[in-house]
């Protein structure tokens, strides 16, 4: 059931003709891979030199070499704060939020989730755009204007009126694909797609949400209060919960003590 994760992080890019070539995924990823090979080769060299010398100096060199090799092989940052995530996965750089990658706009974000349901139920829920504020808490409401047009109003990230935009549906391929894009003046021009495909072995439906903003992720975050990555993952998490269970798990309004001390974060 490996594919039955909550929202994935788009580590498994799929063929996507509609959006192919829009997002730039080069840059830091390849640089990082190059750096890792350098570290591994340098580490090996140091290790060999160290082993051929005798005494403490040699031992220290060998140890340093081994360390450098490990840094390269594991993809660790030598002073890395996220070592838990440092897996030897050449695709792992994709999981870095778009906002931290140096890339050209438009920026492309994809999240994926497997939902234990027929595609029909998932598609119907999303197809009615008036439902989307239930999946994206940053939206105030979506007004469906016609069969293909809708008006979206977001909540203001910092008081006042939030950004709004008009969307037009491009493609509606029943139970398989939905694509839409903004038209006219808006601070957040973007296009998006929802792709559905059957998961293998009766595991339900794989659902991919792709968002392509024509402004940097930082700007999206400033206006919506959430990065495109966060928006896509949260929307799919809520979609899965609503379709599978009919509710959203929550700990809102539950009792707790006064607790005067500070919150211990997971990163401590």
């Amino acid at each position: 059931m490996a594919s039955n994760s909550l929202t994935g992080r788009g580590r498994w890019p799929q063929p996507d003709s509609f959006l192919s070539g829009l997002g730039s995924e080069l840059g830091s990823g390849e640089a990082a891979t190059g750096g890792r090979w350098l570290a591994m080769m340098g580490g090996t060299a140091l290790g060999v030199i160290g082993l051929r010398r005798s005494g403490w100096g040699g031992a220290m060199l060998a140890l340093g070499g081994a360390g450098l090799f490990a840094v390269g092989a594991l993809g660790l940052r030598p002073l890395g704060e996220r070592s838990l995530r440092a897996v030897p996965n050449p695709g792992a750089w994709r999981s870095v939020p778009a906002s931290r990658r140096r890339s050209l706009t438009p920026e492309r974000t994809q999240a994926v989730v497997t939902i234990a349901s027929e595609p029909g139920a998932v598609f119907r829920f999303w197809r009615n755009f008036a439902n989307l504020p239930k999946l994206m808490p940053q939206l105030e409401r979506v007004d469906v204007l016609s069969a293909t047009e809708s008006r979206w109003l977001a909540k203001a990230a910092s008081g006042g009126e939030g950004p709004s935009w008009r969307c037009v549906l491009d493609r509606v391929d029943e139970d398989r694909l939905l694509t839409w894009h903004t038209v006219g003046e808006t601070a957040l021009p973007h296009r998006a797609s929802l792709m559905l495909s059957p998961a293998p072995g009766d595991r339900g439906t794989e659902v991919r949400l792709t968002l392509v903003y024509r402004v940097p992720a930082t700007e999206v975050a400033a206006l919506l209060g959430v990065t495109p990555e966060g928006q896509a993952e949260e929307a799919l998490r809520r979609l899965k919960q609503r379709v599978e269970t009919g509710e959203l798990s929550t700990i809102e309004r539950q009792p707790r003590g006064n607790g005067s001390g500070s919150f211990r974060e997971a990163t401590e």
């Binding site: 234990a116 269970t245 003590g257």
Partner: protein
């Protein structure tokens, strides 16, 4: 209502908190009659599990009466006497449907911590830190139970509260340890840790066909209980070399199945250097868990045998003998308990007399004595196996 709250490392306080309310349509509110301490609470109290917030109510093994139910709850009613499985499933995702409810996709409302640390997020757990959902625990007069139809089980007639309460956690955890090890008739099973879960694993291994079960601990009262109550042969790891003793007892083969009912705070009384190494690395954050039991299991287990792990681990461990595990062809099975899968079967075992977990309740105290009770449980003073609180007095 009254509740026992975590306020910092080794700082528990009984506080006045608001009563829980129904939030979702599948919720029920349970008036808690009995709520047990559990060994895994000690990891929270000792500060080894991050993402605890001061004010969090702990406790996850409980029995009580349903006093309110949401509009979508179908199979339960007000007045029902129920236990609730400590690990929450939604009942609908692929994992819940396949009996792996501890891997539930939907019950953890704060999935980001676990996804960052583990790659994927598991189920929410009552009173067990915000990485596991941040749900309020059961050491309180009332508790909200989400997805109640899936997580709460009516206690059958003729099964007393004292026998039933442990079907919430200790019994299914021990049973799952034995069940997932695939015990076959004639197998020799060794169980590290003779606390409540370890003793239930011992009894379950016998129920599932084990020829002999060996319990390992160093506290005389636990070893005595493992021997007298669930029929184990016992080894005191502070007195004998466990590897040598196990080989001697199994004709040099080693146990067919090794069960870890200890987890992240294992000590290694027989090897002071190893213990010091593990504690030092844990103290400075170079590893989160102490793997003394895992190392001993890998070394002792017979070639081709199975390791079954229900002791709780949190993060990363060091000096893990992977070479031995691989070359000996060992199978690893592990996980948090999937109690929803076992509850009915376990009540049946209790009803027909195969299983009586009530003796684990060595102390029954009011909630007001929570802080002292946990101290006693932690220090294993007064032959304490489990303290069970009666929050209604």
């Amino acid at each position: 209502m009254k509740a026992l709250c975590w306020n910092g490392t080794n700082d528990l306080r009984v506080e006045r908190v608001p009563d829980p309310v129904l939030v979702n349509p599948h919720d029920v509110i349970v008036k808690v009659a009995l709520s047990s301490v559990c060994g895994s609470d000690l990891h929270l109290i000792d500060g080894y599990v991050p993402t605890m917030r001061p004010g969090d109510i702990i406790g996850h093994e409980f029995l009580g009466e349903i006093v309110e139910k949401g509009p979508e709850v179908r199979y339960l009613n007000r007045g029902d006497r129920v236990i609730t499985v400590s690990i929450i499933g939604c009942g609908h995702c692929g994992h819940c449907q396949h009996g792996e409810s501890s891997l539930c996709d939907n019950s953890n409302p704060n999935p980001d911590y676990a996804r960052t640390a583990y790659g994927h997020c598991g189920a929410g757990i009552f009173g067990y830190s915000h990485a596991f959902g941040g749900y309020a625990g059961s050491h309180a007069e009332y508790i909200r139970v989400p997805y109640a139809d899936f997580n709460a089980f009516r206690v059958p007639e003729g099964v007393s509260d004292e026998k039933a309460v442990f079907v919430s956690d200790a019994v299914p955890t021990g049973y799952m340890a034995a069940d997932m090890a695939g015990i076959k008739p004639g197998d020799v099973v060794a169980v590290w840790g003779c606390g409540g879960v370890g003793q239930m694993a011992i009894r379950s291994a016998t129920l599932l066909g084990a020829e002999r079960v060996i319990g390992i601990d160093r506290f005389p009262d636990r070893l005595r209980a493992a021997q007298m109550k669930v029929g184990a042969e016992t080894l005191d790891y502070s007195r004998v070399d466990i590897f040598d003793a196990l080989q001697a007892m199994t004709g040099g083969r080693g146990p067919d199945v090794c069960i870890d009912a200890v987890g992240m705070e294992a000590d290694s009384a027989s090897n002071a250097a190893e213990d010091l190494y593990d504690r030092a690395k844990q103290a400075v954050g170079l590893q989160t868990d102490r793997p003394a039991v895992l190392r001993q299991m890998i070394e002792s287990c017979r070639k081709g045998g199975t390791l079954s792990i229900v002791g709780v681990y949190g993060g990363l461990i060091d000096k893990f003998p992977m070479g031995a595990a691989m070359n000996k062809g060992l199978t690893f099975r592990m996980g948090q308990q999937n109690g929803q899968r076992y509850a009915d079967r376990l009540f049946e075992h209790i009803r027909n007399g195969d299983l009586d977990p009530s003796y684990l309740m060595t102390h029954r105290l009011p909630l007001d004595e929570g802080p002292q009770a946990y101290r006693m449980f932690k220090e294993k003073a007064d032959d304490c196996l489990r303290v069970v609180f009666a929050p209604q007095g």
